[in-house]
């Protein structure tokens, strides 16, 4: 059984990938204290 082929432009996929990398990178700068405490207090 053959998988359906993606018809997406590689350039668009590349742009999307770069944006996701940027978003993930940004999370590394957010203080872990901030995230954990807010999760504990359900402050989101």
């Amino acid at each position: 059984m053959t998988e359906p082929a993606s018809k997406t432009s590689p350039i668009l996929v590349g742009v999307l990938f770069a944006l996701c990398v940027a978003a993930i990178t940004l999370t590394f700068f957010i203080t872990p204290d901030s995230l954990s405490v807010n999760l504990v207090y359900q402050a989101f």
């Binding site: 018809k7 997406t8 668009l12 957010i30 901030s34 402050a43």
Partner: protein, 354 residues
């Protein structure tokens, strides 16, 4: 298995979504929404006194005699109502004493509160508590994503490191969708004045025992202390220890900006130390640094009482009855407030702008 991205249209939609989320702080600044006064009500009520801060800054009008700015230690340490009553007696007119604070410590948060307040209300004197060792690390305040918005403090963030500025932008990205929702659907809960006051006083901790123990009512009349003995007299004052763990560059940056703000508005600035439970028996007031130098206001007064002096007439085993954790319960709040009120009134009479 289907591909994760099944068409160009799908890819463009995802690119737009991620781009908008990442750029939302900037986009909101360009469009000019939401207004600054909506920031505070978006702070979840369980995590601080944001609604009362919003009321004090944006809703109530008129000059204020004294504003206290700090962390939860200040909320549970100083009885604003009592000081307001005593100041009214001294002035022979109704005085206005207010407090701005959020839970957790951070000089970025205290800068923001002070800036918003001074922009909106004429102020006779600012009294601020400085971070204790409970402030761990050197990063933006835990709630920074609620209130630190793109473009609002462009000059004051200019001196920060790349890492700190990225941390701030990360907080802004995290908070922007919530601030947008808060603008579209304001928080109706905090429009009840009684609830705003209750949240602001954190009164649910008033009659709570030490770390879950039973609450024990204690005497609330402090020992008689000469006002001058609870005021620092320079870096070498024997009652103060200014050689604690230094703040990191991020919070020192905001300390300097707080000093600049006081100079810009020409408002008298005073510091206060609220004793924590861990200071029990200490003959000196522990401070992390010599703050007058750090903030660039070399002659400012610091009010503080060594724990051993404050509780000199209290049996050692009963000192914990004045706290519910590191914060004062109502025993401690009343006890400490009565001990410092005379010097606050004295400093106000000498320093305040009327």
């Amino acid at each position: 298995m289907f591909p994760a991205i099944w068409s160009n249209r799908h890819a463009v939609a995802l690119i737009l979504l991620v781009s908008i989320l990442l750029a939302l702080p900037v986009l909101m600044h360009v469009v000019g929404m939401p207004p600054r006064d909506r920031v505070y009500s978006g702070i979840r009520v369980e995590t601080g006194t944001g609604p009362l801060d919003e009321h004090n800054i944006f809703e109530e009008k008129g000059p204020v005699d004294i504003v206290f700015i700090g962390s939860s230690l200040l909320v549970r340490g100083v009885d604003i109502v009592y000081i307001e009553q005593q100041l009214s007696q001294q002035l022979g007119r109704p005085a206005r004493v207010r407090r701005l604070s959020l839970k957790w410590q951070g000089l970025d948060m205290q800068y923001m509160l002070m800036k918003d307040f001074l922009e909106h209300r004429r102020t006779g004197m600012v009294i601020m508590d400085m971070p204790t060792n409970a402030l761990i690390g050197d990063s933006p305040h835990i709630q920074a994503y609620r209130w630190m918005r793109w473009g609002e403090f462009p000059q004051t963030t200019a001196g920060l490191s790349f890492r700190s500025r990225m941390a701030i932008y990360g907080a802004q990205v995290l908070g922007a969708p919530r601030q947008l929702v808060n603008y579209l659907r304001p928080n109706r809960l905090v429009e009840t004045p009684a609830l705003v006051q209750k949240l602001g006083s954190q009164s649910e901790y008033g009659n709570v025992g030490y770390y879950g123990g039973p609450f024990v009512q204690e005497p609330r009349t402090p020992p008689a202390l000469a006002p001058e003995s609870i005021l620092s007299h320079g870096a070498s004052d024997p009652n103060f220890d200014f050689d604690g763990l230094p703040l990191g560059p991020y919070h020192q940056h905001w300390a300097r900006e707080i000093g600049n703000l006081a100079k810009q508005y020409n408002v008298p600035f005073v510091m206060i130390h609220v004793p924590e439970d861990t200071e029990k028996g200490s003959p000196r007031v522990p401070e992390r640094m010599y703050w007058p130098e750090v903030i660039g206001l070399p002659s400012i007064p610091i009010i503080g009482i060594p724990s051993a002096t404050l509780f000199r007439d209290t049996p050692a085993a009963e000192v914990q009855n004045y706290y519910y954790d590191q914060h004062f319960n109502d025993n401690g709040k009343e006890f400490f407030t009565r001990a410092i009120t005379a010097i606050i009134l004295d400093v106000y009479a000498k320093e305040a702008k009327n």
